[in-house]
Each structure stands twice: as C-alpha cells, then as structure tokens.
Symmetry: C2
Subunit: 485 residues, 2 copies
C-alpha cells in the first residue's frame, strides 16, 4: 500500500473542510501562492491539488479570479424519505419472493458490460496481490493442505483472529465461540433454524435485502416487515407495536450498520433499546453485521451484541464484502443457541475449506488488514459521491437518494410511476445490470426504487451507463404520465 501523494493529502484536507461546511459553496479557495506558503508545498503540488479537485467536481476555475468551491449536483437531489408512521404495519406476507428473485437473478447471471447490481466492491478494491501471495506461500508451507482432512471445528487461527477483531466492535468473545460459516448467508440460515420453525413469523426491516427474504421463504418462515428509516434504521416504535400485535414473532433480524439497501446506521441508543426490548419480550435478536467495517470514520460502529447480557443476540458477520468477495467466509456467535448452531453447521455443510481460512487468518492478524480497510473506506466514499453526482446529473426531477455514511451502494427513489422491473429490463437490453427495488420487500412498496452499486471505479463508461439509465427512467416516467393522463 503506497502512501497517498502530497497533493492527494492536501486535497483530502480541503475536501474535509468542504464536507464539514468550513468552506461553503461559492467560497473562494486560497490562491495558489497562498497554498504554497500555508502548506509549504511547491507550485506544482498546489496546482495539481486544485486541478484534481476541479476534475472531481468540487472546485470550479473562474478566469482571472482563481478557484471557487462548487456545489455538488447531488445536493439538488432530495434525501430519501422517512418511512410512513409507525402505526402502519404490513401483515406477514408470503408472496413468493423466490420466484421474483429467481427470475431477476437468472437474467443477471450472464456477463454484462456494466454491473450495478452487486453488493461488493470491484476486485481491485481488495488486497488481491497480498492474498494471492499468502495463498501460494501457505500451499508451500502446508504441502498436504488440499488433500488432508479439514481440521474439525473450523481453523483455530482464523477463529482467534476473528475473536480479536470482534473487540473492535465492542464484543468480547473467545476463539472457541466463533463459528466459521459459508458467508453471512449461511450464518443467517443457521441462526433462523436455531430459533424458529416453518410457519413462524420473523420481524425484518423494510426494505431489507432479498437474500434474507429468500432464506425466510426457503425455510417456510414469514417475514413481518417493519418500517425502517434511511437514517436511523428500524423503527423501534413500529417494532414494539408489532410485538404487541402479533404473538408469534420468533425472531427479529436487523442490519444495524449500513443496512442493505438503505445504508442506515442505527444510533447506539437505538441498538441498546433494541437489545433490551427483545430481551424483555424474550424474542431472539439476530444481528447481521456484514458491512460495519465499511462505515466512514476510523472507529467501527459498536455492535448491538455489545449490549447483550444474556446471550439473546446471535451475531452474524462476513469477510465477503470487506476482505475478499472470492472467499465464502462468514462467521457467527451463537449466544444461547451456540451448541445447537454448531451442530447445525456441522450437519449442513461440515467445516469450511482450510486454505481460505488460513489465508484470511494470516491477513487479519496483520496490520495490512487495517490499512486495507482505511483505503477501502476512502475509495468507497469518493466513489459514492461520484455516483451521486452522476445520478443527480442524469436522473429526472423528483428522484430521491440516500447518501449513506459508508458502504458500497446508494438507494435511489425514482418518480412513483416508474417500475424498477421495467428499468431492469430496459437496462439489461443495453447491457447494464441494476438491482430493482421490488426485490427488497414482499410488498410492492419499493417497486420504484433501485439499488445502485458504487464499488466500481467511476469511469467514462460508467458515467455513460448512468446517462442511459437516466434516459430510461425519464422515458418511463413520461409514458406513465401520458398513459394515466
């Protein structure tokens, strides 16, 4: 990992001033000469910095007057709406999300030019070179790794490394308690199977990621969708009301940090109240913490599990989005259901392959992991902002947008008459894959939303794709208006 060049460091300094409002839109930047004095840099560094920020859309050059802070276009987009009042609760619905998902997934499985449907970053955002080197050296170090029986209970080194990393999110646990899984998705399956049965009702955020709805349907469980705020996450009032209304809720599943698709982050006070509420009602809480390491800032948000005193919280996490999308590594802490979950894991898929576990263990134990995360967060922040600019440029008036404090996606609300399925189909014909909002609920409430990936380097091609998408949305908005006029 090379250190950022001088001009990039300087740019970060001014960007941060702009983001925090210290430098407002229309403000004049210090002159190049002034910059040289202030920061003791060369002319060329000062100029490079200004040109860079201009290219990134944060400054504009006015002839003979110097550089001025510019309003990013995305400011013109309205933020995502808060959900309807807490009293509105969907009844448990079970409309066959499988079929929807299957048909969308099947179509999305051919290679496309621009893939905006992913929930991971591009391959080169992850430490591919280091992981590859680790793989080769581990294969040399353990020549029988691929043909010897996998060590029972999961790889010890990985479990220790994960237990140590859990401290960063406020969880103190031990290697023995870590259960390594095939991604967070297996962890969610195991957690749900441990606490509930077919026919039971499970409270989930709304919107929530289709993977969870699919797991519930495949297990014969019913999703009860609880209104969720794009800024503070699941509505605790709505959840409490739901618990009073339905007596067969057998678990609550939440993604407290960088919720998929909203990107919301629950305030600590909410997480604490949620843990207490579930505890009081004797309803297990399943925490899906797949994304927290991608939250802005140097301190990873504290897990809800941190406030768990009685083992009522099952903690599920993943390395898939933060370390290596090519490895199927997730992990969990089973709380009161630890023994049951361990056994289910063994009965379901046995233990994970050793090589992947060792690669991850070695990398997690090193400071390279911290460096990787810092760099990844910075890159993603830039890319989210550029995507937002692009969306603001090309999407029609009335579009709303979340700007999450981290993560790999933004959540776009299109004009209400635009169907995300129609956008999906039209975009695919132009070799662009998007993730339509209809996947994120058993209801039709999010049919005019799109989740767009920000994990790819913002290129000319990507900008063009946003142009194409914008036109598709615009056309659909007009046709619908005419049809209904």
């Amino acid at each position: 990992m090379q250190a950022p060049t001088l001009y990039r460091q300087l740019a970060e300094h001014y960007l941060s001033a702009i983001r925090h409002g210290t430098l407002a839109t229309g403000d004049r930047m210090p002159s190049v000469r002034k910059l040289m004095q202030l920061h003791e840099v060369s002319l060329s560094t000062a100029l490079q910095m200004c040109r860079y920020l201009e290219a990134e859309g944060w400054l504009e050059a006015r002839p003979r007057s110097g550089y001025f802070v510019r309003q990013p276009r995305r400011i013109r987009l309205a933020p995502a709406l808060e959900p309807k009042p807490a009293t509105v609760i969907d009844p448990a619905q079970f409309v066959g999300i499988h079929e929807r998902v299957s048909s969308i997934i099947a179509q999305g499985q051919r290679p496309v030019k621009i893939n905006l449907a992913r929930a991971t970053g591009a391959p080169d955002l992850y430490p591919h070179k280091q992981l590859r080197q680790l793989a080769s050296s581990l294969l040399r170090q353990y020549p029988l790794l691929l043909t010897k029986a996998i060590s029972p209970g999961g790889n010890r080194d990985l479990k220790s490394a994960l237990a140590k990393r859990a401290l960063d999110v406020g969880i103190s646990t031990s290697a023995d308690e870590v259960i390594v899984t095939n991604g967070c998705i297996e962890a969610l399956n195991l957690a749900l199977r441990a606490v509930a049965h077919a026919g039971d009702v499970i409270a989930v955020e709304s919107p929530t990621f289709y993977g969870l709805l699919q797991v519930l349907e495949s297990l014969g469980m019913k999703a009860l969708e609880i209104p969720t705020s794009p800024s503070t996450g699941i509505s605790l009032e709505a959840l409490e009301l739901a618990m009073q209304t339905y007596d067969n809720i057998k678990a609550v599943v939440v993604v407290p940090h960088l919720q998929n698709p909203l990107g919301s982050i629950m305030p600590d006070s909410h997480k604490q109240r949620l843990v207490t509420l579930c505890e009081a009602k004797n309803i297990p809480l399943i925490e899906d913490d797949s994304y927290s390491a991608l939250a802005n800032g140097d301190k990873i948000p504290t897990a809800a599990k941190h406030w768990d005193q009685t083992g009522n919280v099952i903690y599920c996490a993943s390395l898939h989005k933060i370390l290596a999308p090519g490895l199927r590594l997730g992990w969990m802490l089973g709380g009161r259901w630890q023994a049951r979950i361990s056994m289910f894991k063994y009965a379901q898929t046995r233990y994970n392959e050793e090589l992947s576990q060792l690669i991850a263990a070695t990398f997690l134990q090193s400071s390279s992991y911290d460096r990787h995360l810092r760099k990844l967060r910075t890159t993603l922040t830039q890319q989210r902002e550029k995507m937002a600019e692009g969306i603001a440029t090309y999407f029609p008036e009335g579009t709303r947008l979340t700007m999450p404090d981290g993560g790999v996606s933004v959540w776009v609300e299109m004009p209400p008459q635009v169907s995300s399925r129609a956008v999906f189909d039209a975009a695919l014909r132009q070799d662009i894959l998007v993730s339509p909002g209809l996947l994120y609920s058993n209801s039709n409430r999010f049919d005019h939303f799109l989740r767009l990936n920000c994990g790819t380097h913002y290129s000319h091609e990507l900008e063009e794709a946003l142009g194409v998408l914008g036109r598709i949305v615009l056309d659909l908005a007009r046709i619908k208006k005419v049809a209904s006029a």
Copy 2:
C-alpha cells in the same frame, strides 16, 4: 505418477491369481528360476517379487522347498451377518442422535496418534502435488480470483467436467443441470429439504452413516431404518413392506455403492427395482453416490439414477473422498426438483469458492484423474486386506468382518456383549480414535460394532494400535461375561 516397477507388476499378476483362486492356499509358487524364464525377468526381480508377497502375508517361504501360497488370517473371521428377516421394521425413531454424535465428535476433535474414525484416505493417497501446482498456476492465470465476485451458478468448467464424468456411472446430463455443493452433505440437506418437511418420515438404510441421521434430526424429519445387507444393500422386501405400512414416507435415501458403514454394493437388478418401486409409489429416491469411484475393478458401478425415466431420483455425489479431502466439493442433479434445489442452494450458502472449483475442474478434465483413481483403488485394496489381517490376528473369537469390494473402511462386529462406546472410551485413553457402531443407528442394534478406517498406510504403529484395540475388546468381552455369569 510413476509406472509400477517390474516386480510390483509381477506381484499384482500373482496376487490376482491368488484372489481368484487360480492359486489356492498351500499351492507351491513357481520356483525363482521358473519365474525368470516364464516372465523374462532377472533373478533379482523374481526374488524381489517373492519377498514382497511374503512381506504382504500372501506367501510363506519353506526352507529348501520354495514359496507357498498362504491363507490370509482374515479368512478365519466369519463374514458379516445378513440382517434379520424383512418383516422386522423399526418404527420411526427419533432418539436424539445429535447428542450422541456431538459427544463422540467433540471427543474425537483433539489430535490423536492413530485415527481410525475417518471416512477418507490419508492425505498422501490423493494427488496433493498436482493439485497444489494447479492451485498456484491458476492463481497466476487469474490474478483477481480471490477478490472477484464468484461466478453465478457454479463454475462452468467444473460443471462440464462433472457432467462428462457422470457418463462413467451411466448418467447422461448436461453442465447446466449440475449443482455444485459444499460436499455431499450439503447436497443431502438440499435434497431432503426439497422433497420433505419437518415431521415427515424418511426411509434410510440400517445401519447408515451418522451424518444422514444428523441431517434428518436437524431438519426435524424422522428416520425409518430399513434392514440392509452387507452384500446387496437395502432390503427391497423390507422397504416395500414399510411403504405399505407407513403412508407418510416422503423420501428414500440410499448409498447404493460402498454403503457407509457396510460397504455393500447393490446389484444392478436391485437398483433398477428400487427406482421402479419408488416411482410407482411416488416417493422421491435420493441416491448418495459418494464412494462409487472407489469400487474395485475398472468399471465404476452404474448409478441408480441411470434407470430414472421421470426425474424421481435426486443424485448426490462428492469429490471429497475420491479427489481431495481438503476441498469441500460435492455435486447433485435435482431431477424434478432442480429449480427448487438451485434456489435453496443459493439461499443457503450462495455458490462455492471459485479457486477450489477450478482446481477440481482442471484435474477432472485430465487423464491424471483416471490414473489417480486406479492407483487409489489398488492402494486401498491392499490396505483393506492388511487391516483385515490385523483384525483377524488381534480381535477375539466371534468377531465378524465385512470385506467390501472397495472403499476406505471395514465394519467389524464384536462379541455382542462388547459396547462400542466402551471401546471408544478405552481406545481414546490410548490415543486411538475409532468410530463406534452406536453412531450408525437411532436404535441400539449396532452398539457392538466398529467402523475402522483403512485409508492409512499399514505401519508398525497401526499394527500396534490394532493390538491395543484387540486387547480392549477382549477385556470387555471377558468382564461382561463374568458380570453376567
């Protein structure tokens, strides 16, 4: 893979004559001079061959008379018994195999000196060097393999290679239909979830491998144990009777080839009748074909799926025991439930990691795979025979033994008063791990059985371990006799 040396080729020739009875016990071998003439080999080669067969226990040297064919000790052990008449059928039992298995597995998870509990061969029986080289070269060829999103639907090359290999067991299918899983165990989970629900009854072989009993229990399904012959597999009469008696059997699961733990191989006519029977009763048949490539002979047995005309057979298999115990690769063909199973697989664990799939794909496409299997079968045959010799030498009278036509285990019936749990405990105190018969049924019927692994090179240490085991069994047999006298 190097070609066998001349003396080993010659030894194989005579071994085969002995096995087929062309050379009977007590027969005199051709003299060394005669061997030289007959096979046009040197004196040293002829001598090496005789000494090798002597060391392996097949010949004995009599002073001044030459070499004579010797009766292997194991001939003195009675073969495994046929099951009780078909009329005896256990009611569906659900005694909590999980607990038994958990406690046994937990104890077996610390490293031991001699591990006879495995269902795989030793690491060096598999092509570790070639697989390692493949891994390194694939990582060079695809530098982003570990950090890019896994290709949806499973790796195409592996699916093609498996579809092609399926021809060897008489199944004609296409790459599209192959579902890659985390070992055969995940395939069994998916198959059962696709065709049955909690509370349903599933007919299984008795004894059967504990993994299956565990899967059933974890899914809330009930095992109906059908008597199974050590030579011809599941009793079709008993199964048919069960189908008449119970109207809630929702699936039949069988391991037609090298059944675990019996080692039985169903005759083709039985497999065909089984397929027809399940079809007629409209009960899905789940075929677990994990071991067929380890069956003696150059022709892999034909899968029951071969006779399936209507998609009523779900075929599950694995590379775990035949190619690489370090890879968690299984696969399946979903028959009529293909779409449902694909979706369940996606919802349960997503797709398998790409690197492992590519390693396996590349190796399966080469003739190295065939050479590996041939060598593995030969090695295992020798090792099974030596284990049988050892058991015959050290175990008490009244011991019975299966001698399966392939595979990695033998199934030992001890005197009826000996508890396999007691043997397990005593052996573990001496750092030897065995697989106790009580794991292989929800009943107590196999409590005086052991499954012993033959996948490890027969060493002096291993022989000593068999000596220790023999004494343990002998002691337990005596104590029990005294106690009951």
